[in-house]
């Protein structure tokens, strides 16, 4: 199938989903406060007193901030593990254990430690999406053909050359697959954080509207959260295309 045709199919599936939603609500006669139509939800966007801008900005900051922090710390830690096998032997199992802690359950603690607001939610997003990045990047860095190492060692390649010329670029596909998993988790982390301790952000807004049974605004908030996640995911895909796919796809 041609590339443009597959884009078209994907687009049509999205449109069909929205139409299906709309007509399912209209024809079934479900009341608006249970399930609004897409148009009802969209209408909420034009209510100025909702302060959409602030909420979108706060959630975006938390998601992207937590994700970026996780990518930077995750890659640094994976590199450390590769360079210091002792650190890997000691810390990797500890990391696996710590990863078993439901990060969501730590949110109340983060409130005590870091207070109310953007930072603790960013930290929750960070803790939840940091692990897949460490794990996949570490695996990618270690995934090197031993014969290739022999080949470069036969001309006395040093550790730094092996790292920069072979290991690091070779780990990029792994890093990106980890980042794709992390992008989804980052959104979930930030929203749960807002549920628990926040006075702003789309997650917080969602809870407030729930109290008023304002389902249309809630669905709109959900759509916006999804769009923030999609934007992050799209950014990862774009970077992946620039650094990996572009070079691996035959033109």
């Amino acid at each position: 199938m041609g590339r443009y045709r597959s884009y078209l199919y994907a687009f049509l599936a999205h449109v069909a989903f929205v139409l299906l939603w709309h007509f399912a609500v209209v024809w079934s006669g479900v009341p608006k406060f249970i399930m609004p139509t897409p148009l009802d939800a969209l209408r909420e966007l034009f209510e100025p007193h909702y302060n959409w801008g602030t909420h979108i900005w706060v959630t975006t900051l938390e998601v992207f901030g937590g994700f970026t922090l996780a990518a930077v710390v995750g890659v640094a830690m994976a590199v450390l593990f590769v360079w210091l096998p002792g650190a890997n032997a000691a810390l990797m199992p500890l990391l696996v254990t710590l990863n078993m802690i439901p990060k969501v359950a730590m949110a109340p603690l983060f409130v005590i430690w870091l207070g109310f607001g953007i930072v603790p939610n960013m930290v929750i997003a960070f803790t939840i999406c940091f692990f897949p990045i460490v794990l996949t990047t570490y695996r990618g860095l270690m995934e090197v053909e031993p014969e290739l190492i022999n080949l470069v060692r036969s001309v006395r390649a040093n550790r730094w050359q092996i790292f920069t010329k072979i290991q690091l670029p070779g780990s990029l596909p792994y890093l990106f697959s980890g980042m794709k998993v992390a992008a989804v988790l980052a959104v979930a982390g930030a929203i749960v954080g807002e549920f628990i301790a926040s006075d702003r952000g789309l997650g917080n807004f969602l809870l407030i509207q729930q109290n008023m049974l304002n389902t249309g605004a809630m669905v709109m908030a959900l759509i916006l959260i999804t769009l923030i996640g999609t934007a992050l995911y799209g950014l990862v895909l774009l970077l992946e295309w620039v650094f990996v796919t572009r070079k691996e796809v035959a033109r």
Partner: protein
């Protein structure tokens, strides 16, 4: 006149310790190789062929015996004068063919411009001049292996070590690559050690053949191959070729 051999291997021995047990990987290997010779090392899997290459490349220490590479007229620099080719082409898939070929030159810190020029010339020699800017996955297995041969030559090393380089190719491509290798060898005048488990291939390529047997891993015999040069595929149908092949089959207990 007989010049001093370029490589002198004397009673080489290598033992691996695997969970407390000693495993003899290589023993009784004695071999003299002249400069510019293409020597085949043939034997079954696990007879220590690859281990010999690793020792010569300076990647593994020997446990006994000795080896020397180089002559006063043609000195050998360890960690510099080695080119390696493996069964897998091992090209970096994020680099173009040209940049892949340049890898050893980059590691050795050779001057950029000259290396690029040399890499282009080598790619032309191996028949890949139209593919310098292609990525490895766009090339067939045989073409990838040509690129890896160009990579082994880019820093102008004196010794090329090849570890079953055509073992993963289909039979026809393999025949073609054998002819190509002979041509590249004649043009580049390199000393080549060619490890294979293909008996026909060993006889067809080698000016000398060393036969290794497994369990215990040792060198069973070595002899010169006197066939008309330059060699063409029809040499394989000659009586002399058959006699060499039979001799190896006999040494490997396959007769």
């Amino acid at each position: 006149m007989t010049a001093a051999p370029f490589i002198r291997i004397e009673n080489l021995r290598k033992v691996f310790r695997v969970s407390g047990r000693e495993l003899v990987a290589v023993q009784e290997v004695t071999l003299d190789i002249r400069e510019g010779e293409l020597v085949s090392i043939v034997g079954p899997s696990g007879c220590g062929k690859s281990t010999i290459l690793s020792i010569l490349a300076g990647l593994l220490p020997a446990d006994g015996g000795s080896f020397e590479i180089g002559t006063p007229e043609s000195p050998f620099t360890p960690g510099r004068d080695i080119g390696m080719v493996f069964q897998k082409a091992l090209l970096l898939k994020w680099r173009t063919i040209l940049d892949n070929v340049l890898l050893p030159a980059e590691i050795l810190g050779l001057p950029r411009r000259e290396s690029r020029e040399r890499a282009r010339d080598l790619l032309q020699m191996v028949g890949l001049d139209g593919f310098t800017d292609a990525y490895p996955q766009q090339l067939s297995g045989g073409m990838q292996q040509r690129a890896s041969i160009a990579r082994a030559l880019v820093h102008d090393p004196k010794l090329i070590l090849m570890d079953e380089p055509f073992g993963a190719l289909d039979a026809l491509t393999r025949e073609k690559m054998n002819l190509e290798l002979l041509r590249i060898w004649r043009e580049s005048r390199k000393t080549i050690l060619f490890v294979t488990h293909g008996i026909q291939e060993a006889v067809f390529l080698g000016s000398q053949v060393a036969v290794m047997t497994a369990g215990p891993a040792r060198m069973a015999d070595q002899f010169r191959i006197e066939l008309p040069e330059p060699r063409h595929l029809d040499v394989k149908t000659t009586e002399a070729f058959g006699a060499y092949a039979r001799r190896i089959y006999g040494l490997l207990g396959l007769d």
